[in-house]
């Protein structure tokens, strides 16, 4: 080809040394290339800081554990209409359930039972739920029944129709999380 440049344009200095006839330009590094290099370095610093130095970024195992809890919770929730004591105890050891139950409790039940769950002992209206005595029976299914149907004549409303079976189960799990299963 005749129009191929025979000599490089002046801004391309060629290094004077040649190796076995091979010449070398000494061009500037492309900006986008440098940018990529710097960006990945900055990313490294940021990523390391987030996950390793600061401890803000969660560990893989923590993420996994939370995810598995969520899955278990979802499975338990699906089982909520066939509740039995064992399932309720299991729920009370699942943090997803217990967290959700705490939220419901504090918003719906704490007015009478107090956030401490100590109820009348703590100046509330309802019975204490942590004193170890159960007026209506202490088996998880019995507690569930009280919350679900209420004790209307004593001032304990029926919650099942209001908050639904799932939330009822969660809140019972929350109460149970303050107790140990008798062996």
């Amino acid at each position: 080809m005749t129009n191929a440049p025979k000599t490089p344009p002046p801004e391309d200095p060629i290094r004077e040394h040649t190796y076995d006839g091979i010449q070398e330009y000494d061009k500037r590094l492309p900006n986008w290339w440098l940018f990529t290099l710097y960006a990945t370095i900055v990313f490294w610093i940021g990523y390391w800081f987030y996950y390793e130095t600061s401890g803000i970024g969660p560990r893989d195992t923590a993420v996994l554990a939370a995810e598995l809890e969520r899955i278990e919770a979802a499975k338990l929730a699906a089982a909520a209409d066939l509740l039995d004591d064992g399932t309720l105890w299991q729920m009370s050891r699942n943090s997803v359930f217990v967290q959700a139950g705490r939220a419901t409790f504090n918003s719906t039940c704490a007015s009478c039972h107090k956030e401490s769950l100590r109820g009348a002992e703590d100046g509330g209206i309802g019975a204490s739920l942590v004193d170890g005595t159960w007026v209506h029976g202490g088996r998880p299914t019995e507690i569930f029944a009280v919350v679900d149907k209420g004790v209307l004549e004593k001032g304990m409303p029926a919650w099942g129709p209001i908050i639904g079976a799932k939330k009822t189960a969660e809140v019972v799990a929350y109460i149970l999380s303050h107790h140990e299963e008798a062996k």
Partner: protein
């Protein structure tokens, strides 16, 4: 190809003949002998089971020896060079030779138990880390740096164009050799490898992107002004395509190192596609281009047929594209299916592993076609080569070289001159400070960060004020092969030291998490060696990752302590079959017997091979005492056992399994190999909890 390219170009680049014809011949024949030995031993099941490091220890020694022969020959030639300054290709060759030697030796440290068998000195996580430090960098320093060197010689030669940028060569050479070494843990993402190593592996892999592309740019941009030649010259076609594949593979690599992408792609064909883009496209096409360029020169005769060379190019290109595309589709399909969940993410969408294999079956056909085309291309090359050289004489002569004046005394850089100067010291400080920042606690870490920042600022200031001086220094360094080699070695050694030494040194307890494996009984150990011999690890991993789909499919994620006595580790790298980390106790003994004799009788449509000979051959018990002695030396808690005690234990356990089988209606003598394998499989996943107190 690599050796030929290095030998050819080095002689010309340093204007000196190879130092020793004897060493060259030894190198050639020694290497051929190693290949033959490998081809015999591997199919017979003599294997260390570590990827790219399968060969047994006597061959390892031969490889190391031949590599040293190569190194001596090369450096001796350098010492006699008449061209004082080292060209960039030579830098890459130097990096190749020293780094491969280092990697190979460390990863092959093992203690023999017999003439044909050995255990590696590292086990569990340490072995995994060392293996992938080696495995990743074998790709880097055996399949990348020498080829880059070859590119820097043959590509400008063939294109008759100057190399694009010397400055880029300098930067990308040093950043490449320095950063590459750190990236090994990206082969172990989402496993039980400690988090800090995973983070290092991922971030350094991303940082590797630009340095790798520096090589590609320098290759492709050198072709500027020569693109028109591509139409006619098959050599340049091969080179241009090869460099493009290099760029593609080195873009894909960092992508695959991102943890979430890796969670999908790891253990699937995507990884296989990735390496083949590199191996077939980059290495293979560089080799082909080089051969077509060299043939006419070496035999002083034009190539027999340009059009056949073009045919090779096109069949090869289509072959690679089909192959790689098939692997992408297959890998992503299987990865997605394995990780897919339904019902709000609570159950696996494809609980049967075989579904995922059947889905990718058509891709395997495409893979075969692609690979076949690629092979045909090489047969075309062989024919072309034969027709070209038939009846021709090799050029055998000497060339007059013009040697420049002997180096003046003041170009010598002593030890002090090479080490005590701003660029080297700054790099050392920067690495040191950055390491303190990453690995130090509280104040040390802060100090490291401040130090690193100060070093960067100082570096920039100096670069602007004294850049010219640095340039002069580097030019002088290029006149000094030994200091150059030493600096290269330091640069590549740094990453490995910082990652591996802490992992090897820390008390084993710290590597355990909350569980420790129950050591194998002698019979189980024998079964494990069978597992290695039969190559089960090529399809089965033993590492349940910290990912929901893995846990849903295979059970609780694997802890470090659960493979602490595994010499060698068996975490695996491809799942063509399910993970086996917790298969122990999942099925009765007789299930395994039937499954090993004929997998399809148990799992309809399984593609696992049958292993009928395991039920026929007798177990080699005699070698067990030697093996257990070595394991004990390595730190596995075997009490003092006499050979007789070992044999008794084996007999007793084997009889138990044989009885189980008999009760289930299967008759196998307790001496058979299958009994040991069943013992091993049933052991997988057994651990004892460790309390922090007990660990200390």
């Amino acid at each position: 190809m690599m050796f030929a390219g290095i030998y050819y170009s080095t002689q010309r680049l340093v204007k000196a003949r190879l130092a020793s014809d004897f060493l060259s011949a030894l190198h050639f024949w020694g290497w051929q002998a190693i290949i033959v030995a490998a081809a015999i031993t591997l199919p017979l099941g003599f294997s260390r089971s570590k990827e790219y490091a399968e060969l047994i220890w006597p061959i390892n020694i031969a490889v190391a020896f031949i590599w040293v022969v190569f190194a001596v020959n090369f450096f001796w030639t350098l010492a006699r060079r008449r061209e004082p300054s080292l060209y960039v290709a030579i830098w890459f060759y130097i990096a190749t030779i020293v780094t491969v030697a280092m990697l190979y030796i460390v990863n092959h440290l093992s203690i023999p138990t017999s003439l044909l068998h050995s255990y590696p000195v590292f086990g569990g996580v340490q072995d995994a880390l060392v293996q992938w430090w080696y495995g990743h960098n074998a790709v880097a320093f055996f399949l990348t740096t020498p080829i880059l060197g070859i590119m820097y010689y043959f590509l400008p030669k063939a294109a008759e164009r100057p190399v694009y940028s010397y400055r880029l060569s300098v930067i990308h050479f040093w950043s490449l050799v320095f950063i590459y070494i750190w990236a090994g843990p990206h082969h172990l993402l989402n496993t039980s490898l400690p988090d800090w190593l995973q983070t290092l592996g991922m971030t350094f892999s991303l940082m590797l992107w630009a340095p790798s592309w520096g090589g590609m740019l320098n290759g492709l941009l050198t072709l500027r002004g020569a693109w028109h030649k591509l139409r006619t010259d098959p050599v340049l076609k091969f080179f241009a395509a090869a460099v493009t594949f290099y760029g593609m593979a080195t873009f894909e690599g960092p992508l695959l190192s991102i943890k979430s992408v890796n969670g999908l792609a790891h253990y699937t064909d995507w990884i296989i596609g990735h390496v083949h883009a590199g191996a077939l496209g980059w290495n293979g096409f560089m080799a082909a281009g080089m051969i077509y360029w060299l043939l006419p020169k070496l035999w002083n005769k034009p190539l027999y047929s340009q059009s056949l060379a073009n045919l090779h190019f096109w069949t090869g290109l289509v072959g690679i594209l089909l192959y790689v595309a098939a692997m992408w589709v297959s890998g992503i399909t299987q990865g997605l299916m394995l990780n897919a969940t339904t019902e709000g993410g609570t159950v696996l969408a494809y609980p049967n592993f075989l579904d995922t294999l059947n889905a990718i079956r058509p891709m395997m056909l495409m893979r075969v076609i692609g690979g076949g085309l690629y092979l045909v291309g090489w047969l075309v090359l062989a024919y072309n080569l034969w027709r070209t050289i038939r009846g021709a004489q090799t050029v055998n002569g000497s060339i007059e070289v013009y040697a420049e004046k002997p180096a003046a005394a003041d170009t010598r850089l002593g030890f002090a001159g090479s080490v005590f100067n701003a660029p080297v010291l700054l790099s050392v400080f920067l690495t040191g400070f950055a390491t303190l920042w990453m690995l130090g606690e509280n104040l040390v870490s802060v100090a490291g960060l401040v130090g690193a920042l100060l070093t960067v600022v100082a570096g920039y200031a100096l670069l602007y004020s004294r850049g010219k001086v640095w340039q002069g220094w580097y030019e002088r360094l290029l006149l000094n092969a030994l200091p150059f080699t030493v600096l290269t070695f330091v640069a590549v050694a740094a990453g490995g030291l910082i990652q591996i030494v802490p992992t090897v040194m820390v008390q084993k307890a710290a590597n355990m998490e909350d569980r420790v494996q129950v050591p194998y009984t002698p019979l189980e150990l024998a079964g494990r060696d069978l597992y290695v011999r039969e190559g089960c690890y090529t399809c089965h991993s033993q590492m349940i990752r910290t990912m929901v789909p893995d846990v849903l499919r295979y059970g609780d994620y694997s802890r470090l302590g659960e493979s602490i006595y595994d010499y060698p580790f068996q975490w695996g790298s491809r799942r063509a079959g399910p993970d086996l980390a917790r298969v122990g106790g999942k099925y009765p003994d007789v299930w395994h017997l039937r499954h090993m004799e004929d997998p399809r009788s148990i799992s309809v449509g399984s593609n696992m091979p049958s292993y009928p000979w395991l039920s026929e051959r007798n177990l080699d018990v005699a070698s067990l005492p030697a093996k257990i002695n070595v394991q004990r030396t390595l730190g596995v808690p075997y009490g003092p056992l006499t050979p007789q005690q070992i044999f008794d234990q084996v007999n007793e356990q084997a009889k138990g399994i044989a009885k189980n089988l008999r009760d289930a209606g299967a008759y196998v003598a307790p001496e058979k190999e299958i009994i040991a394998l069943i013992a091993y499989l049933q052991k997988l996943g057994q651990f004892e909890p460790v309390t922090p107190a007990a660990a200390n």
